[in-house]
Amino acid sequence: MPFRLEKRQEPSRFMVYATPVAAVLLTMIVGAIIFTLIGYNGIGAVREIFLTPLTNSYKWQDLGVKAAPLIIIGVGLSIAYRANVWNIGAEGQYVMGGLAGTWVALATYNMTGPWILPAMILAGVLGGALYAAIPAFFKVRFNVNEILTSLMLTYASVQLIYYLIRLPWKDPMGMGFPQTRLFAEAARLPTIIPGTIVHLGVPIAILVAVLAWFIMSRSVFGYQMKVVGAAPHAARYGGFSENKTIWLAMLVSGALAGLAGVLEVAGPFQRMVPGFPTNYGFTAIIVAFLGRLNPLGVIFAGIVMAITFVGGEVAQTTIGLPNAATGIFQAMVLFFLLAGDILVRYRIRRVQAAVGTA
């Protein structure tokens, strides 16, 4: 191997924060070139995907609604990833949060009262946290890799949706379609700007991110997360329990994914349907990294990802770009980001044949 990666003494602080911006810019440039080469209007594609959602004020509401769950889940993941706890199953915890909220909404269908929505939210948070507790338990007790368990539990949660909406929760008015009934008024998330679709979940997302930033940078909890992730040995000497950290990381990230789930089902969906899992939990992984595992950065990263979703639809209707293009752009962002991170943290060294040990 003629080249070798060598760890840099001290990665440039500037570059750590410049990488995400560079990744997005590179994506735009390379995307424009690729799509031009295969016969599309490449410049137009980049303009419609990355700029139109920002310049067309009518799209802002869509950005908010799409970014909110990404931010909430992304904040949770960024906390867990800081502690080197790899919760990949946020999608499943999001689903369980949605299901727990749905359960409350259906149980209170004939009731009214301002307590119903908070009860649903509480149930959603608990649902997500409890579902994340399963991989946490296996990790702490049997040292089972949490990446595998949390990921696989996602598929189990989707099957649970199918079961519930086909049998016990089936909509009596739905012509046999597997879905729950439309939630009663009291169980729906209110819109906060009249005439738009911007619901209460959007300010909640910002609030969650700011609170998390505060806690992560000012509290012992945040310090513990960071130390355990960055220097496990030092953390152990310092008296931080690794197991306790795993528990906290999983529960917090699960609870936030559950919160996103219940807000999504009570807001845009207003009923549980088979199409409820829309990969927010997976996209939020990109969001967490793009936001540099910093809750405030996650806000911006969530908006960037929302832009690509909304812009991808605009590009389909205006310049006939296929739907898969959105996925290609999102994947490019992550690719350039990870590649950039490598170069920030390591330098490429040419290796002399004699020195090279395989």
Partner: protein, 361 residues
């Protein structure tokens, strides 16, 4: 590729329309903008492909009088609502939502855009500016059922369904009723995979069915994945859904149900241009050429072909209706008395299986 094809079509259509320009009727009016949303990809070679063929047909027929846009892979949920609003804001005055699960979103967005006409395929919720349209796919299923009844050696077929909604249940029932006219022992095993298009899930379901000894597979999902597995494993056969899929399974596709939406889309577009559009509720089939039967595959003998054609032509001239009693459900209870034909309303709310259908889990 899409763009260039569309451009070519437009140019071609414009050329074809040149002689018409003398009338000036088309040239001066603003083109009618029409939007289409599909639940899957236009390259699924099945259901969504067929809807898109209908869109292309409208462009070919009306040329510069229309301007069409489509959005594919639209999830059934809030994302659909956003896409519909996007289309309405961009000035589309007629929007076709082509999948069942778009219903809630169509109703919501239609309220916000009262001057835009919406048509929802296979749905059940109407509004002053929301019409419904559907096709009698069950008529095609009955033809497939005849073929399956004749050719299946095990007398057991599998049926890959999306969701247990009346639309799908009715198709399964029509298939098995027709097959049992040929082979009274014929049974069918439905499996629901909770999606309209997921080639991996469709293929998995097909493999599992073949492992259980089922030798014919029909599907009510959008693509050719199950047929490909059938071809690979060399079972008796399967059926194309939405479009002719023989390219994917040349020996194994016995025949196909082709959705021919073009004429309906054309009629709706013309009605909007003429200002005569009203929210309709159409349900057309073989007779109106909305449902077509594709070419028969090499395994279908002349005798079987004749029987299948008899079922097809009988439904066209009205002498045959597959849902005519006596019909028992799969618990043995008689549901339809001898000589009685089920009404459209009964069919559209069908939630029980006829004799010969294994109750799905």
């Amino acid at each position: 590729m899409t763009l260039s094809r569309r451009t070519i079509l437009k140019t071609g259509a414009a050329a074809a329309a040149l002689p018409l320009l003398g009338s000036k009727a088309f040239a001066q009016a603003e083109p009618l903008k029409i939007g289409f949303i599909y639940v899957g990809s236009i390259n699924d070679n099945g259901y969504n492909y067929a809807h898109n063929q209908g869109r292309i047909y409208v462009e070919e027929q009306l040329g510069d009088a229309v301007e069409t846009t489509y959005v594919e892979n639209v999830p059934e949920g809030p994302d659909c609502e956003r896409v519909l609003r996007e289309l309405a804001q961009q000035g589309n005055k007629l929007i076709f939502a082509t999948s069942f699960g778009f219903g809630d979103s169509v109703i919501k967005v239609a309220q916000q855009f009262p001057d835009v006409k919406f048509e929802h395929a296979t749905g059940y919720q109407k509004a002053p500016n929301v019409g419904l349209y559907n096709a009698r796919f069950y008529e095609g299923r009955a033809v497939c059922g005849v073929v399956a009844g004749h050719l299946s050696k095990t007398g057991k077929a599998g049926y890959i369904g999306s969701f247990p909604i009346p639309e799908v249940v009715m198709g399964i029932n029509a298939f098995v009723l027709a097959a049992r006219q040929v082979n009274p022992e014929f049974t069918i095993k439905p499996v629901y995979i909770s999606t309209w298009n997921d080639p991996a899930k469709e293929a998995d379901a097909a493999r599992a069915m073949i492992d259980q000894g089922l030798d014919v597979i029909a599907q009510h999902t959008d693509g050719p994945a199950a047929l490909q597995v059938a071809q690979e494993r060399g079972i008796v056969g399967g059926f194309g859904q939405g479009a002719d899929m023989s390219a994917f399974a040349p020996e194994t596709q016995l025949t196909s149900i082709i959705d021919n939406w073009g004429p309906h889309y054309l009629a709706s577009a013309k009605a909007v241009i003429d200002g005569t559009w009203t929210p309709g509720d159409t349900w057309e089939g073989l007779k109106e050429d909305v449902v077509q039967i594709g070419p028969y595959g090499p395994k279908v003998t002349e005798e079987v072909k004749a029987a299948a054609e008899a079922m097809r032509t009988g439904q066209i001239d009205g002498s045959v209706h597959i849902f005519t009693g006596p019909i028992k459900d799969n618990t043995g209870t008689e549901r339809v008395a001898a000589g009685v034909t089920m009404t459209d309303a009964e069919l559209l709310s069908m939630d029980w299986y006829v004799e010969g259908v294994e109750q799905p889990a």
